[in-house]
Amino acid sequence: MRPFTVNRLTDTQHLNDVDSFENSRFLAGGTNLVDLMKHQIETPDTLVDLSGWESADTIEETDETYQIGAMVSNTDLANFAYRKEDLSLLSQALLSGATVQLRNRATTGGNLLQRTRCYYFYDTNQPCNKRQPGSGCAALDGFNRIHAVLGTSEHCIASHPSDMAVAMAALDAKVKTINPAGNSRHIPVRELYRLPGDTPHIETVLGGDELIVSVDIPKRPRGTQIYRKVRDRSSYAFALVSVACDVTLKDGVIDDVSLAFGGVGTMPWHAKSAEDFLRGKTATSDLYAQACDIELSAARGAGSNDFKIPLIKRTAAFVLEQAVGQQMAHPGHQGAIHAR
């Protein structure tokens, strides 16, 4: 690990006290950043330590939103969401990711900003445009079984690893940020990430001095929610593909649907085209595969990950059928199909 200096932040006003954000990183739980620093993939000169930022470790509930503080741990958020029927999707996604040890430490803001697990991003002997812009992409002709099929470019096919962010995209959460000048803004999670294009090292729309304060989830009636994750082993593995789905049915018609995919995109993938196709249609089994075909029309495999295209289609169609079935059997149902 390279040497660095530490600035401690206990309040967002302390952003002004940071001498320079040049090559700085915010350090929350560190479950990803500390690991990347050990590999010398991340070599910040300055860490802005958020561990003393207590006001960001709370969940505020108003009539309109759940405001999840950026420092709320993945465990605390999963436990909170488990007991809210309208947030079941979030709990399902969080609990499907990582391990208890990691979830206890990882934070809400940090989860959104975690980096890809592309093998070539981690291997500093290999070219990687995300790690070293302009060096090339070893994944394109390499082992790319875990890589993305949506949103890729000729410069990068790394998939986004988060489960939580996929649920946040489906729930249409907004990220609240602040910068040292005190300017605050809300960014929909659906608009937080950038496609790799020819600048895969720039992953979000956030400025280097812009701090995530909270993630705000709008309160609205939800329907049957399912997060289905397909992976190589049943625990502690990243998604090959995953589907976050929330469906409400009214008189046999799809009244509303939220759909997002994980494991297949260079960012958490909001399946807007599929949603638009499904909304307002009478729910029938043949619809779901059609909706997925529309969403996946631009999907491109790189060889070893070609299987992800039919796999995400089958998984999403299965999940939609399951959610609609639950809505038909139990009109007005909200939450998970099964929960202890």
């Binding site: 560190g30 040890q101 990691l102």
Partner: protein
């Protein structure tokens, strides 16, 4: 003095902010129970309790833990004897080489308290699941290269039954 507490005793934080809690335990406090397996948060051999919550000591920078109370495997037993889970590990022969055992036990001790607090796991969303499946999911952050898993699960089951955890 900026300090953290380990097994009830206070220690000054290390000067170098790059020091992980795991390296701090080994090099400064001379507690070697928490093991360095992968050093990247993948194996769980370094699992310790931070304010009662299990975490990977290899991924924690010690300077972030000012004022926190850490419990390592050396702090699990009491003057009255071994913790019920330690006793269950002995009874079930739940280890072979023993390298992962301190992490397994710290993880299992936290697991018992998580169950007491009715903390959900992902299998709770399944239509049907067994207690063993729930324990396997909750212990998935601790690898055992000898493959003592079935006995580890038995030990956790015995210990939680002895504590009346349902």
């Amino acid at each position: 003095m900026a300090a953290l507490t380990i097994n009830g005793q206070e220690y000054a934080l290390p000067d170098d902010p790059r020091t992980t809690l795991l390296d701090f335990l080994h090099q400064h406090v001379k507690l070697f129970g928490a093991k360095k397996g992968c050093d990247h948060g993948q194996c769980g051999a370094c699992t310790v309790l931070v304010e009662g919550e299990r975490m990977n000591a290899c991924l924690l920078l010690a300077f972030q833990l000012e004022g926190k109370a850490i419990t390592t495997i050396e702090g699990i037993a009491t003057d009255d004897g071994l913790h019920p889970l330690q006793q269950a590990f002995v009874k079930c022969d739940a280890f072979q080489c023993g390298y992962c055992t301190s992490g397994q036990i710290c993880s299992g001790v936290a697991l018992m308290s998580e169950l007491e607090q009715n903390t959900p796991s992902t299998v709770w969303f399944e239509s049907d699941y067994s207690d063993n499946e729930d324990i396997k999911e909750r212990m998935s952050g601790n690898l055992c290269r000898c493959g003592a898993y079935s006995n580890i699960i038995d030990a956790v089951n015995i210990a939680r039954d002895n504590k009346g955890v349902s």
